[in-house]
Protein backbone atom coordinates (compact mmCIF):
# COMPACT_ATOMS: atom_id res chain seq x y z
CA UNK A 1 0.00 0.00 0.00
CA UNK A 2 1.42 3.37 -0.92
CA UNK A 3 2.44 5.36 2.12
CA UNK A 4 0.64 8.56 1.10
CA UNK A 5 -2.62 6.74 0.44
CA UNK A 6 -2.37 4.86 3.71
CA UNK A 7 -1.58 8.07 5.61
CA UNK A 8 -4.62 9.78 4.14
CA UNK A 9 -6.77 6.76 4.94
CA UNK A 10 -5.68 6.81 8.59
CA UNK A 11 -6.07 10.58 8.86
CA UNK A 12 -9.65 10.43 7.60
CA UNK A 13 -10.74 7.44 9.74
CA UNK A 14 -12.57 9.59 12.27
CA UNK A 15 -14.58 11.31 9.55
CA UNK A 16 -15.61 7.97 8.04
CA UNK A 17 -16.58 6.65 11.45
CA UNK A 18 -18.69 9.69 12.26
CA UNK A 19 -20.67 9.15 9.06
CA UNK A 20 -21.04 5.44 9.83
CA UNK A 21 -22.32 6.08 13.33
CA UNK A 22 -24.97 8.46 12.01
CA UNK A 23 -25.99 6.10 9.21
CA UNK A 24 -26.26 3.08 11.52
CA UNK A 25 -28.25 5.15 14.01
CA UNK A 26 -30.92 5.78 11.37
CA UNK A 27 -31.41 2.12 10.47
CA UNK A 28 -34.45 0.09 11.58
CA UNK A 29 -32.19 -2.41 13.38
CA UNK A 30 -30.54 0.32 15.47
CA UNK A 31 -33.90 1.84 16.35
CA UNK A 32 -35.13 -1.58 17.45
CA UNK A 33 -32.06 -2.16 19.63
CA UNK A 34 -32.52 1.22 21.31
CA UNK A 35 -36.21 0.62 21.95
CA UNK A 36 -35.48 -2.74 23.56
CA UNK A 37 -32.71 -1.20 25.64
CA UNK A 38 -35.05 1.49 26.99
CA UNK A 39 -37.58 -1.22 27.83
CA UNK A 40 -34.88 -3.15 29.74
CA UNK A 41 -33.94 0.05 31.56
CA UNK A 42 -37.54 0.57 32.67
CA UNK A 43 -37.77 -3.04 33.88
CA UNK A 44 -34.57 -2.60 35.87
CA UNK A 45 -35.79 0.65 37.45
CA UNK A 46 -39.13 -0.90 38.31
CA UNK A 47 -37.48 -3.91 39.97
CA UNK A 48 -35.05 -1.68 41.83
CA UNK A 49 -37.87 0.44 43.25
CA UNK A 50 -39.58 -2.70 44.62
CA UNK A 51 -36.51 -3.82 46.53
CA UNK A 52 -36.80 -3.46 50.28
CA UNK A 53 -33.70 -1.90 51.83
CA UNK A 54 -31.85 -4.32 54.16
Amino acid sequence: MKHEIHAEFVRTAKDRNAVRAQTVRDTPRAKQVREKAFEALEVYKSQRSKRVPA
Binding site: M1, F9, V10, A13, R16, V24, P28, A37, L41
Partner: protein, 156 residues
Protein backbone atom coordinates in the same frame (compact mmCIF):
# COMPACT_ATOMS: atom_id res chain seq x y z
CA UNK B 1 -22.62 7.92 36.19
CA UNK B 2 -23.75 4.41 37.13
CA UNK B 3 -23.12 1.94 34.38
CA UNK B 4 -25.02 -1.33 34.77
CA UNK B 5 -23.90 -4.07 32.43
CA UNK B 6 -26.79 -5.84 30.74
CA UNK B 7 -25.88 -7.46 27.48
CA UNK B 8 -28.81 -8.75 25.52
CA UNK B 9 -28.97 -12.41 24.63
CA UNK B 10 -26.09 -12.82 22.22
CA UNK B 11 -27.60 -15.85 20.50
CA UNK B 12 -30.28 -13.61 19.07
CA UNK B 13 -28.34 -10.34 19.06
CA UNK B 14 -25.33 -11.41 17.04
CA UNK B 15 -27.19 -11.33 13.77
CA UNK B 16 -25.52 -9.10 11.22
CA UNK B 17 -27.75 -6.40 9.85
CA UNK B 18 -27.38 -5.42 6.24
CA UNK B 19 -28.92 -2.03 5.97
CA UNK B 20 -28.28 0.68 3.42
CA UNK B 21 -25.37 -1.49 2.20
CA UNK B 22 -23.82 -1.40 5.67
CA UNK B 23 -22.92 -4.56 7.52
CA UNK B 24 -22.97 -4.29 11.26
CA UNK B 25 -23.93 -5.87 14.55
CA UNK B 26 -25.44 -3.67 17.21
CA UNK B 27 -26.25 -4.88 20.71
CA UNK B 28 -27.43 -3.36 23.92
CA UNK B 29 -24.65 -3.53 26.51
CA UNK B 30 -26.13 -1.73 29.50
CA UNK B 31 -27.76 1.31 30.97
CA UNK B 32 -27.50 4.02 33.57
CA UNK B 33 -30.70 4.00 35.65
CA UNK B 34 -29.79 7.23 37.43
CA UNK B 35 -29.28 9.25 34.27
CA UNK B 36 -31.87 7.33 32.21
CA UNK B 37 -29.33 6.35 29.57
CA UNK B 38 -28.96 3.24 27.49
CA UNK B 39 -25.70 2.01 26.00
CA UNK B 40 -25.21 0.14 22.74
CA UNK B 41 -22.19 -1.34 21.03
CA UNK B 42 -21.80 -1.35 17.26
CA UNK B 43 -19.25 -3.37 15.31
CA UNK B 44 -19.16 -2.64 11.63
CA UNK B 45 -17.54 -4.04 8.54
CA UNK B 46 -17.73 -1.38 5.89
CA UNK B 47 -16.28 -0.98 2.43
CA UNK B 48 -14.62 2.43 2.19
CA UNK B 49 -13.65 1.87 -1.42
CA UNK B 50 -10.32 2.31 -3.11
CA UNK B 51 -7.48 -0.06 -2.34
CA UNK B 52 -8.43 -1.01 1.13
CA UNK B 53 -10.92 -3.86 1.11
CA UNK B 54 -13.19 -3.69 4.13
CA UNK B 55 -12.71 -1.60 7.24
CA UNK B 56 -13.54 -2.83 10.74
CA UNK B 57 -14.66 -0.25 13.26
CA UNK B 58 -16.56 -0.29 16.54
CA UNK B 59 -18.00 2.19 18.97
CA UNK B 60 -20.21 2.60 22.02
CA UNK B 61 -23.13 5.00 22.15
CA UNK B 62 -25.14 6.36 25.05
CA UNK B 63 -28.59 7.78 24.52
CA UNK B 64 -30.82 9.46 27.07
CA UNK B 65 -34.60 9.59 27.14
CA UNK B 66 -34.58 12.89 25.25
CA UNK B 67 -32.69 11.31 22.36
CA UNK B 68 -29.38 13.00 23.14
CA UNK B 69 -26.61 10.72 21.92
CA UNK B 70 -22.96 10.54 22.92
CA UNK B 71 -20.57 8.42 20.91
CA UNK B 72 -17.45 6.90 22.47
CA UNK B 73 -14.63 5.73 20.22
CA UNK B 74 -11.93 5.22 22.75
CA UNK B 75 -11.48 3.37 26.03
CA UNK B 76 -10.16 6.61 27.48
CA UNK B 77 -13.67 8.02 27.10
CA UNK B 78 -15.39 5.09 28.83
CA UNK B 79 -13.56 5.01 32.12
CA UNK B 80 -16.94 5.17 33.89
CA UNK B 81 -17.29 1.49 32.91
CA UNK B 82 -15.48 -0.81 35.33
CA UNK B 83 -12.57 -2.89 34.14
CA UNK B 84 -14.54 -6.11 34.63
CA UNK B 85 -17.45 -4.81 32.55
CA UNK B 86 -15.05 -3.57 29.89
CA UNK B 87 -13.61 -7.06 29.55
CA UNK B 88 -17.15 -8.40 29.00
CA UNK B 89 -17.78 -5.75 26.36
CA UNK B 90 -14.48 -6.56 24.66
CA UNK B 91 -15.60 -10.19 24.45
CA UNK B 92 -18.74 -9.02 22.63
CA UNK B 93 -16.61 -6.96 20.22
CA UNK B 94 -14.49 -10.05 19.50
CA UNK B 95 -17.54 -12.29 19.07
CA UNK B 96 -19.23 -9.76 16.79
CA UNK B 97 -16.08 -9.45 14.70
CA UNK B 98 -15.95 -13.22 14.30
CA UNK B 99 -19.60 -13.38 13.25
CA UNK B 100 -19.15 -10.59 10.69
CA UNK B 101 -16.00 -12.17 9.22
CA UNK B 102 -17.65 -15.59 8.97
CA UNK B 103 -20.78 -14.14 7.44
CA UNK B 104 -19.22 -11.86 4.82
CA UNK B 105 -15.81 -13.49 4.30
CA UNK B 106 -13.89 -10.38 3.27
CA UNK B 107 -10.52 -11.05 1.63
CA UNK B 108 -8.85 -7.94 3.05
CA UNK B 109 -9.70 -5.88 6.11
CA UNK B 110 -8.07 -2.83 7.60
CA UNK B 111 -8.47 -1.60 11.17
CA UNK B 112 -7.37 1.83 12.36
CA UNK B 113 -6.83 2.60 16.07
CA UNK B 114 -9.10 5.22 17.54
CA UNK B 115 -6.33 7.40 18.98
CA UNK B 116 -2.66 8.18 18.59
CA UNK B 117 0.07 6.85 20.85
CA UNK B 118 -2.10 4.41 22.73
CA UNK B 119 -0.67 3.12 26.00
CA UNK B 120 0.04 -0.62 26.04
CA UNK B 121 -3.04 -1.34 28.15
CA UNK B 122 -5.25 0.40 25.60
CA UNK B 123 -3.93 -1.75 22.76
CA UNK B 124 -5.26 -4.91 24.45
CA UNK B 125 -8.57 -4.67 22.64
CA UNK B 126 -6.88 -4.52 19.28
CA UNK B 127 -4.69 -7.50 20.18
CA UNK B 128 -7.82 -9.46 21.07
CA UNK B 129 -9.36 -8.61 17.70
CA UNK B 130 -6.14 -9.54 15.92
CA UNK B 131 -6.44 -12.96 17.58
CA UNK B 132 -9.89 -13.37 16.01
CA UNK B 133 -8.47 -12.68 12.55
CA UNK B 134 -5.61 -15.13 13.14
CA UNK B 135 -8.04 -17.79 14.32
CA UNK B 136 -9.98 -17.41 11.07
CA UNK B 137 -6.86 -17.82 8.93
CA UNK B 138 -5.98 -14.21 8.15
CA UNK B 139 -2.41 -13.00 7.90
CA UNK B 140 -1.97 -9.79 9.80
CA UNK B 141 0.41 -6.94 9.24
CA UNK B 142 0.85 -3.83 11.35
CA UNK B 143 1.09 -0.89 8.99
CA UNK B 144 3.29 2.09 9.67
CA UNK B 145 2.02 4.60 12.22
CA UNK B 146 0.57 7.83 10.93
CA UNK B 147 0.97 10.68 13.42
CA UNK B 148 1.13 8.01 16.13
CA UNK B 149 -2.01 6.18 14.98
CA UNK B 150 -1.61 2.43 14.53
CA UNK B 151 -3.38 0.44 11.85
CA UNK B 152 -3.46 -3.18 10.81
CA UNK B 153 -4.22 -5.03 7.62
CA UNK B 154 -5.56 -8.57 7.42
CA UNK B 155 -5.52 -10.74 4.30
CA UNK B 156 -6.41 -14.27 3.35
Amino acid sequence: MTFILEIEDLRSALVPAIDKSMRFIQVQIGFDPDENKIFTLTVQLDVPGGLFGDELSFWVEAEDADGKIETYWDGLETRFISRFYRSQILAVIANSTEVLLNEFEPKSVIMVASSANLPIRATAKYLKIIEVFKKLGYDNQELGRVAGVQSWRFDR
